[in-house]
């Protein structure tokens, strides 16, 4: 399902004395099957933007297209249920939304709300418990008896349970330790490929954006200021810096290294693994040259 935004603007508390502009002139396209990262500082409009991607907010100006559905200021909310079934959002700290008596019931809530039968919802719940690497015996436990990392997985399962084709992740690793972060990010990467999802990741980790995404949207002051592939966006260090954003560490290291040796490597290292590979290759060439 392709998503596109054309000249999207949004005001909070419109037509009141508290009116506050949150978005202005946002243009972006998210192709079906892509992995898009939305990057920006606190207050740059990332969260407001993501609520436009499943019709939780309707744009005050401009148009949002989600598949065949067009949403603008006058669109009736009633027609948006279908969109919401296709677009799942994992909010920040999703474990705060757990509420049921047992893990299974909590995961079943979403799909049953969208009209899936009880048996089918239950089947999916058990499937997801395994898929998310949770121990099987959590199924009948209260979600509140689980560890923080496990609670987060249950909450994520609750979103996956209604089989969205677009998955939006709002800083899904906030508050987790390094191992937990890596596990969750690898899990989403796996799901992205296996389930053929369109994945949208809201993050301030340049490293995660560089490693996982194939499409970037940089937000600053409520508007989209840079879009493109990671290679394109990270090639323009100065422009990024003007929005107070840095390069991913591997790219920053590559730049420092290039400065030191006085020449450029041919490719941009989006991960630590690539960085080590490119440098080792360059060292080999250097050795060959000097012989």
């Amino acid at each position: 399902m392709d998503i596109s935004l054309q000249n999207v603007g949004y005001f909070y508390s419109k037509d009141t004395p508290f009116e506050k502009r949150a978005l202005q002139g946002v243009d972006a396209t998210i192709h079906s099957g892509s992995y898009t990262a939305i990057i920006g500082h606190t207050g740059s409009g990332k969260s407001t933007l993501l609520m436009h991607l499943n019709g939780l907010l309707k744009p005050s100006e401009g148009v949002v297209r989600i598949g065949d559905t067009t949403i603008s200021a006058g669109t009736k909310t009633k027609g948006l249920k279908d969109v919401r079934r296709h677009v799942g959002i994992v909010f920040q700290f999703p474990e705060h939304q757990l509420f049921e008596e047992t893990v299974v019931k909590d995961i079943m809530f979403g799909p049953m709300n969208f009209g899936v039968s009880e048996e089918e919802a239950k089947r999916r719940a058990y499937e997801l418990i395994t898929l998310l690497g949770l121990p099987e015996d959590v199924a009948e436990k209260s979600p509140f008896d689980l560890s923080g990392g496990q609670m987060r997985r249950v909450a994520i399962a609750g979103v996956l349970a209604f089989k969205p084709s677009v998955l939006i992740l709002d800083e899904p690793t906030a508050g987790l330790d390094p191992r937990g972060r890596k596990e969750i990010m690898e899990l989403f990467n796996h799901l992205h490929k296996k389930e053929d999802l369109t994945t949208i990741l809201v993050t301030h980790s340049m490293e995660d954006a560089a490693r996982y995404a194939d499409n970037l949207i940089i937000m600053s002051n409520g508007t989209s200021v840079m879009t493109g592939t990671p290679e394109e966006v990270f090639a323009d260090e100065e422009k990024l810096a003007s929005y107070r954003l840095g390069l991913p560490r591997s790219v920053q290291f590559q730049r420092d290294f290039e400065k030191k040796i006085g020449r450029k490597l041919s490719d941009i290292a989006l991960t630590e693994e690539q960085l080590a590979e490119f440098i080792a290759k360059a060292a080999l060439e250097e050795g060959a040259d000097s012989c």
Binding site: H41, S147, D177, R179, I261, A276, I279
Partner: protein, 281 residues
């Protein structure tokens, strides 16, 4: 050097319904000297936050003794000891009470009955120390994450603490905010000799400490300077911590068949090593 904090054989377990009791802190002993910067690192659930709660007297140990400023921490002296501690928590939004930055910094001073003139002086002074003087009349909620934590640090500093405790104070910040906060604490430490205990799972931050305590399953797994601790890289990775970037890249370079002399904690050192060993002709 004077000892500022010590734990002697401290154990703590949270009450549960199960018969099986898991100790969150299990027989921990440690000592912190005046002027040190200590990093307590560990993954989620390793016991490091429980340790923080024991140090500031939010919890009392079932076994062992916690001494702060050479006094055993008890219900009786708790408030006296706390008035000499500065504490900065994880979520900046949960600790604001004032409607402006200066009101917020003044809050604890007011609670401690500091006279008005002295209060004004200290508020200005501590905001200057964290480079937030120009934000005196701003609303705390409109600041960036890094700025909020700097205000929280100013609030702690205004009490002229002998010990500053940061409980995951940078973990919810974006990279810029994190750098801002760390830089400020580094400067403070150099200028004023403040003792800092930082509880964190960010090993890059721990690199800056004088000593690191590595926690796992409620026990101290390792203690030492950053150089000493990071020698046992695989062990840190096996308990869910991430090695500093330069060490991770060094390991990957070696896997790609590149020889490197020694260990390099920072990017700059590693770039220099690469230059010297492989590219300088």
């Amino acid at each position: 050097m004077k000892e500022i904090l010590s734990l002697e054989q401290v154990s703590y377990s949270y009450p549960t319904d199960d018969d099986e009791v898991v100790k969150a802190i299990d027989g921990v002993s440690l000592s912190v000297k005046d002027g040190e910067w200590i990093a307590i690192v560990g993954h989620n659930g390793s016991g490091k936050s429980t340790m923080a709660k024991l140090i500031i007297g939010l919890l009392f140990p079932q076994d062992g003794v916690v001494n702060v400023f050479n006094e055993q921490l008890t219900n009786e002296n708790l408030w006296d000891i706390r008035s000499r501690l500065g504490i900065v928590f994880q979520n900046p939004d949960n600790q604001f009470v004032g409607s402006t930055v200066q009101d917020d910094v003044a809050f604890a001073l007011e609670n401690n009955g500091i006279p008005f003139e002295e209060m004004v002086k200290r508020v200005h002074e501590s905001l200057k120390q964290v480079k937030m003087s120009e934000f005196l009349d701003h609303e705390p909620h409109h600041l960036s994450g890094g700025q909020k934590q700097r205000v929280a640090i100013a609030g702690a500093l205004a009490l002229r603490p002998n010990l500053l405790i940061m409980d995951e104070a940078t973990s919810m910040l974006d990279p810029q905010g994190r750098d801002e906060v760390i830089r400020i604490v580094q400067e403070l430490k150099q200028r004023t000799g403040l003792t800092v205990i930082s509880i964190t799972h960010d090993l890059e931050e721990a690199l800056l400490a004088d000593r690191i305590f590595v926690m796992n399953k409620g026990k101290i797994l390792q203690t030492g300077t950053p150089d000493e601790v990071f020698k046992h890289g695989e062990q840190l990775e096996s308990i869910g911590l991430d090695m500093p970037f330069a060490l991770r890249v060094s390991e990957l370079l070696r896997k790609n068949g590149l020889s490197l002399e020694g260990e390099h904690m920072t990017e700059e050192e590693l770039v220099n090593e690469l230059w010297t060993s492989h590219f300088k002709m």
